[in-house]
Amino acid sequence: MRNVLDANDLIAAQNRRDFDAGGCCVINLMSAPGGGKTTLLERTIAGVRGRLRVGVIEGDVQGRLDADRLALLGVPVAQINTDPHFGGECHLDARMVRSALADFPLDGLDLVLIENVGNLVCPAQFSVGEDRKVMVSSVAEGDDKPLKYPLLFRVSNFLILNKIDLLGHVDFDPERFRANVARVNADLPVIELSAMTGAGCMQWIDWLLSEVERRRSRCHSHENGF
């Protein structure tokens, strides 16, 4: 018996070793198309400026729209296009991320944010060597999504409910959403924010800072032989 994704997981482990050697905390950011990942990244990069050195790996089927947006903020950005290089796949896998690492300055970074291809199904299956999987769900998508795409909600370590500035304009009940999340993953922390207005974003920044710190102390413990 062999796992179908053994080859992917092997490459993910290689990525992980490179991330560890660079001392980077790595976040795999996943959502549906239009969930607000890129706007959240813009907000995040501004929010940690002067505190963390950030790099971004952008996954899209085609084009450099997101990479060009983020490069304006003066951080290293690598763009992965799944079409034509990787068969137009609807997710990032470990091999694709590995292809972006050759020219990526991991040594100078505290935090690497990987923006996965917008999709609620396929990215759930493929580890890329990340420390944490973070899911973004937006109120415009409806409060029933946990019950429709349970695997992504199940494998994620942290959930952001985005676009709360649209509450009142769309049919979305935050309490029902939280109850649906709990029905598929009772352990999943949920925060609410608007990447557009900035409301609630401090909580997200604080969580990222704590993750980077947690990673640092883990590496430090390793260095001291614990």
Binding site: R2, C122, P150, A186
Partner: protein, 121 residues
Amino acid sequence: MHELAICRGILDVAGAALAEHTPRVAVSSVAVRIGRLTGIDPECLRFYFDLLITDTPLAGAMLRIEEVPIRGLCRACAAEFVIESPAFTCETCGGSAVDLLSGQELQVISLETVEEVCGGD
């Protein structure tokens, strides 16, 4: 949606197992175990499998799919149960803190040939 990538993974594993085997044998079937939580559509997987094995050492093989149910273990009352609904709620006590015992499998179990080349658990 990701059946093509998963199918390629299956063919990588099956192809590697076959390459370890000399002399070369014909494969009659490839058996895989697919957990229901993976969201893989078996018919779609078969479609890609038949397409991708053409002109490869696996040509002519059949894909045998064993679907694995999602099984939960309730943290509160320790009940074990099969999850059919979208919610992973304990059917005994209604608790929502549930660990998963199965349902995420994506495994190649065996290749069936004149003699078995990659067998057993």
